[in-house]
Symmetry: C2
Subunit: 278 residues, 2 copies
């Protein structure tokens, strides 16, 4: 039980943030998933999955996803889309790729969290993404927090590639870390995915084709006319402001809280994106 | 990286389970939330929140919840219902109660998990519920995993009581542990809650009264004619079979997995409920 202080809340931290605390994602690394209900915006993570990011962009640019469907919505787990029968031809992109489950830790600047993690010896944030690191193996990897984007695969580790994609919509399924390639995360619009009816076949697949949710288009933001883009800025994770944010969440000072635990788990740290002021 | 063995999967564990591995919740501690879309079934936890459980049952029995609405759906957080203006009279039950944020650890048999937890020194399962324990304070408490049922409150710790209830529908908001009274968990039907439209007002409240989702009835299962009950059985958490289940999830052996991390976080352990065989 920590005493209450005048330490800032998340609201305070954001209110006092400066322009340099924010960054604008490169539109060439931003993906739009367009549904009848609206747009889901993703930031891609080329530092962790360069081949998958390039391939998903190539798939988007050849129109591969347009008219495909969301085929699986498993409660407390994932939303997944693609071409389950793999019937649609792929022209310039690849159907499968070697896995990018982890990478060399060297070259990854990780803003570390101070609290223990159940699954990894070190966790934190790299370029705005939740990530983990292991000194023994010298590896770093992205972590399956809520809203992370991954490349579905079959049993063979090299059977993914981004033609089938999923988004985490439940409690972080950390057992998937280092088992599947993560390549980005949702910046806005996840509620368009999380409200979809759950599939009732095994693994949350929709039983009937007519239950599937059509995808209008998937586009790289750079290819979209500027007036039609969703202009977002993202709070940097490598700044003193972000450290203050983490502390404000480790020890909650809002009046409602009676007890400040003094710790925070990786996937409970808010990664803030907001409309860009013009 | 653990070598693959013939260790059982979850499916194997359930297939080889015996009748004694299962228990039938007391119908007097089971709550039905009836919506137009179907029934959500909760098991209540009188060992942790006796006054709140008794009060919620009294509220249900006087029909307090019938015709009230779900007023808040905040993505990755909670679904909440009640009477936000507190206008509906309460007859035999209480509107507010002293908090039951934690209890004496003595008397709580906890099936401990072996892996570190970010928030508590010891975690595990007590009578089928995710729970934590702290030797220093001698306290035990229920934990905010996906599907847990809590009693909303205002800023004063004694301003809850069960007239307003919430269910966790996102990544475990563990900062709420010991700050609010948890009194049960969903056994079935959570997908009726998780697909509801997210509210667009602050904290995910619905902006307009007509967006609220009507509650047909809330009943204690014991008060429902046996033929109309949802007969479920729940896998015990204090058995060798449950230990085998935990091990099967700490080290995933299904063919799909390339890497078995050898650990599991509290809220990732499946707490299995299934229709009771007749």
């Amino acid at each position: 039980m920590s005493p209450k202080t005048a330490a800032p809340t998340l609201k305070d931290v954001l209110a006092s943030s400066q322009p340099a605390d924010w960054r604008t994602p490169d539109p060439d690394d931003v993906l739009y998933l367009e549904l009848a209900s609206g747009r889901v915006v993703f930031e891609l993570a080329p530092a962790f999955a360069p081949a998958h990011v390039a391939n998903v962009k190539a798939l988007a640019r050849e129109g591969y996803f347009d008219g495909l469907t969301i085929v699986r919505v498993q409660d407390n787990y994932v939303v997944q889309w693609g071409d389950p029968e793999a019937q649609r031809p792929i022209r310039s992109a690849q159907r499968t790729l070697p896995p990018e489950f982890d990478r060399a830790a060297a070259g990854v600047e990780l803003t570390l969290l101070p609290d223990p993690d159940t699954y990894a010896s070190e966790v934190g944030f790299a370029q705005g993404f939740p990530a983990a690191r292991d000194a023994a193996s010298g590896k770093a990897w992205l972590v399956h927090c809520y809203g992370m984007l991954g490349a579905g695969r079959d049993n063979a580790p090299d059977s993914g590639g981004g033609a089938e994609l999923y988004v985490v919509i439940g409690h972080a399924p950390r057992q998937l870390d280092r088992n599947v390639t993560l390549l980005g995360r949702v910046l806005s619009g996840i509620e368009l995915l999380t409200v979809l009816p759950r599939g009732t076949a095994a693994l949350g697949f929709y039983e009937k084709p007519e239950q599937r949710v059509p995808i209008r288009r998937v586009r790289v933001a750079a290819d979209v006319a500027p007036a039609e883009r969703t202009e977002l800025e993202v709070l940097r994770t490598d700044t003193p402001t972000f450290q203050t944010l983490v502390e404000s969440r480790r020890n909650r000072r809002e009046e409602w809280f009676q007890y400040a635990v003094g710790r925070i788990e990786l996937c409970n740290v808010p990664l803030v994106a907001r409309p860009k002021a013009h």
